[in-house]
Amino acid sequence: MAQHESTYKPSNNFGKWMDERLPVARLVHDSFVDFPTPRNLNYLWTFGGILTFCLVAQLVTGIVLAMHYQPSADEAFNSVERIRRDVNFGWMIRNFHAVGASMFFIAVYVHIFRGLYYGSYKAPREILWILGVFIFLAMMATAFMGYALPWGQMSFWGVTVITNLFSSLDSIIPGLGTSIVQWLWGGYAVTGATLNRFFSLHYLLPFVIIGLVILHVWALHVVGQNNPTGVEPKTKADTVPMGPYAIAKDAVAMFAFLIPFAWFVFFLPDYLGHADNFTPANPLVTPPHIVPEWYFLPFYAILRAIPSKLGGVMAMFAAIAVLAFVPWLDRSRVRSTKYRPVYKWFFLLFVITCLALGYLGSKPADGIYVFWARIFTFYYFAHFILVMPFVGLLETPKKLPNSISESVLGKSGGGGGDTVPSGATASPEKR
């Protein structure tokens, strides 16, 4: 994995015996204890650990829920109610899973914006970043199918609206869209057959995410972490070993993150959902507003901002796909936006754009809301396609510090004369 020299020393004979046969302990030690992390990481870098926790929490609560849930059109809604009412602490497990989905997305959005701000996608971290985009896509698919499972009104109509979008592909190749939609539905309408396949895929996809996460972490351990300066670690003084330093920090952040998490689980379990989903699915009654979960709202706003159906669908998928090209769209010489006096204002505008699209996605698609959705959709894409390449080329960045330790300790301390914790090494990859 990481190319720094292993410092693992088995502490007993069994450890030695094992190490010669299957060096799992050495792998863990080198990857998660002795792994060098830049010493200037701020708390935004703790979200990788938080996301790992979220994934595991969703898996554990999800597996328990699946023991009680019945994926059939007749029983799905009733079984969720039985979980809330009659399963011992079922309400807690169900709340943890439902709120957990939202918290997972809060964490992943912070993680993505952190990567965008500090240029964590730039060489040599392109593959790391693209794997992240795939994880994000898999998360969205998983969350969408998961929201279908309670089979309430919003589940049913959300599935109907979103799967129907694929029918717009008929205008490219006649019959293509219709075939895809029928294949997604398992029939000619959204029925229990759709629910059953969504349940199957909702159980499958998290394990795909685990696989992608392993690759993501692997790629991270090859190239090492970026840091707020965007300057690669050069000497031992620039890094600290992950254990105990980064782990201690990750633990603080994880428990701090659990406070709002638990706040919603115990005090506002249904705040992030929709009242309509407490009415069983009814194909004959359409709810007045069909709105997706909050974490899809910016993309929903983009979908509806485009006057043509096919165009809207393509824009929505392009809004995610464009992220994969960011490593090449950004032409800046420096990574971190901290040292980019012009781009940082565009970055702020981009954050506002995403929040505004989220708000507009929750509103009806008419009048002034569509107007603003179009403005912000325009900027969303302009940010990637125009701002990233051109501001990167034209801007004069501020002077970068010579090293990470110089940025932390000031000029005098940069020489490496300070106490270096034992085991800390320089950049994991010696280029």
Partner: protein, 292 residues
């Protein structure tokens, strides 16, 4: 040009909607009511749930079922906590029987509910319910409070502020506010020519449900000549009081674990806060080994 006009419109829209506007999907204004179970520490008021059940039994159960609830829930902790024996005898007299069977002769039969049976409504199925109600379907009330909400139609800055306030104060009682307003918003008790009643809180303003509570037809909390149990005050039976009590009862029916949930919530909060502080102090100690 057009964009400048739209921008002006947006600005005036923000300026005009200075007050927070709450409305059901139809547009009527819905007041927020103070509930004993609202907020971070709110719990159900047992006496209120008991009164609310009486209102449900005498006023709602003629049309509406409560089928996600079992009779046993009525004596379990965290709810109205009626006496177990009283609930069991109530179940045997409940007008809506349970269809069971087949028996040894292969016949289905009706029997009185047991404590473990659902609190069924009077209609065998949706068609029967619609046939008896002028085409309208009286919904099952077990989830009615969770299934209803009040939309926030304020301008976006106020909307965002209100969301923040609600999250911090633990407010998710919009469904109860709506049902309470609905029960209090009938204008007159005579139907129009289509058999619909005027109700400002209902989306569209016209509802098929006969006014369940009117000034002349409230649910009495005490039988004639009965006095309040020792140490308890029983409020007068007004429409507003009946409506409040039955709404609280239905809120419990749709969220029976609320009491435990909020109690555990505080324990979890305290645990997380202390652990976070301890972890932070530990982290500071560890990082103090490094030169800053």
């Amino acid at each position: 040009m057009q964009s400048a006009r739209a921008f002006g419109l947006a600005l005036s829209a923000i300026a005009l909607s200075a007050g927070t506007v709450w409305a059901a999907s139809g547009g009527a204004h819905i007041e927020r009511h103070h509930w004993s179970f609202t907020g971070l520490g709110g719990q159900y008021d047992k006496a209120q749930l008991q009164r609310g059940f009486k209102v449900y039994q005498e006023s709602c159960s003629a049309c509406h079922g409560l089928s996600r609830l079992s009779f046993r829930n009525l004596f379990e902790a965290g709810g109205p906590e009626f006496d177990e024996a009283a609930v069991k005898s109530l179940a045997t007299e409940w007008p809506n029987q349970i269809v069971d069977g087949p028996n040894d002769d292969g016949e289905m039969f009706e029997r009185p509910p047991l404590a473990s049976d659902p609190i069924r409504g009077p209609f065998a199925n949706e068609k029967a319910a619609r046939a008896a109600n002028n085409g309208a379907l009286p919904p099952d009330l077990s989830l009615i409070i969770k299934a209803r909400t009040v939309e926030n139609h304020s301008s976006w800055p106020l909307h965002v502020v209100q969301m923040g306030k609600d999250v911090l104060s633990g407010y998710q009682e919009a469904g109860a506010d709506y049902v309470y307003a609905l029960l209090n918003s009938y204008k007159g008790s005579e139907p129009d020519t289509n058999g619909m009643y005027v109700n400002a809180a209902f989306p569209g303003g016209k509802i098929a449900m006969t006014p369940p509570l009117t000034v002349d037809n409230t649910v009495a909390y005490l039988e004639d000549g009965q006095s309040a149990p020792e140490g308890m005050t029983v409020p007068p039976s007004t429409v507003a009081q009946n409506a409040e009590d039955v709404t609280a009862f239905l809120a419990w029916a749709s969220d029976p674990s609320l009491n435990t949930r909020k109690q555990i919530g505080w324990q979890v909060m305290i645990y997380l806060l202390i652990t976070t502080v301890l972890l932070y102090l530990g982290k500071k100690q560890i990082w103090a080994r490094l030169k800053h």
